[in-house]
Amino acid sequence: MAFTVGMISGAGGSNADTVDGFHASQTPGANIIVPLNANGILDLSATYVKSNVYSFRRVDLTGATSDYMLQVGEEAYISFSNATSVPLHIATQSGTYYECHLICSNTGGTSGGTEAEIYLNPNNTTYSNAFAYAEVYRNLGGLGSSYSVTYSAFRCGWAFSNITYYITNYTQYKNIRGFYDIYGLSHHYPSIYIFSTDWRDTTTAWTSLGTITFPQSASGYILVRRLA
């Protein structure tokens, strides 16, 4: 049986300070071995873990000024405060797929919201009447549904909403589908909406995930994880 043993070296016979020539440190960096910290946690917050197919990292894109391309597995965090417009600054391309969570932190209740849509505007742009939207819902008024082909962006919420949705980006088929709770309005708090919305344009490339727009000032955060 053959064993391969790395070279452990230390100055003057003392404790080894390198393994196969790599130093150990609790500050992550290139060619550094990182041990568990005093709490038994492998803290890689300054860097990330990557395999051939997946990256494990959260990037804070709050206040970003240019688009960032998430790698598969990477997660973006964007916080916003009293905003009506939140650019995500996430680059995208055909063949990608994402999971998103939009969390509003505004106080719960049946007033304070505006009766209008929350949109994801792809490419930070509206495209007149290019989007279709379908939903089924339950609110205080009962069960209902609607279908519209006159939207100019992806509708993904209403007034104040907490939203979970999935984004498919093929240039030839672009879709968002998910569900949300609405609050800040009568007949809601809570309510449940299941929706799907297509960008009915099979040639325009979706290159920037875009900007979220709210019908009133909203606060909270957005998580976007790239899955493919």
Partner: protein, 141 residues
Amino acid sequence: MKVWAYIHPQLNILCCALLPEAVPQGIQALEFEVESTDDVIYDGAQIRSKTQDEKLQEEKQRKLAELKNYVASLLSPIDYIVIKIAEAQVLGQDVTVLKQKYAVQLQRRGAIRQWNEQMEQAINNAKTVEEVRSIKIEFKG
């Protein structure tokens, strides 16, 4: 919010960029300060922001649709009573007993319809978008 509106050269539709850098190169865009991207329109001759009256009419239509859905949701659970009475009438039966049996529900239906008319009138009479938005659709009968 600020938006930059233009007619897309390939798609030939109105587009509004939410960031100045989202305007495609070589395109002349018009800058607008609006509440929502929905407030910019192309009327066939020019790109412009909606007038206050256009916004008011839209808000009224939205509120009336909300009212219609709400009233339907109040009435539909007791629609079977009306159908039952209508069936009895078609078959030439005496509906007096049925009317007595369901008197409370029938009275409620009448009250809902009366309230619906009052709400429609209030919405149609509203003079501003804010006034329309402030109308609460809730039947308390």
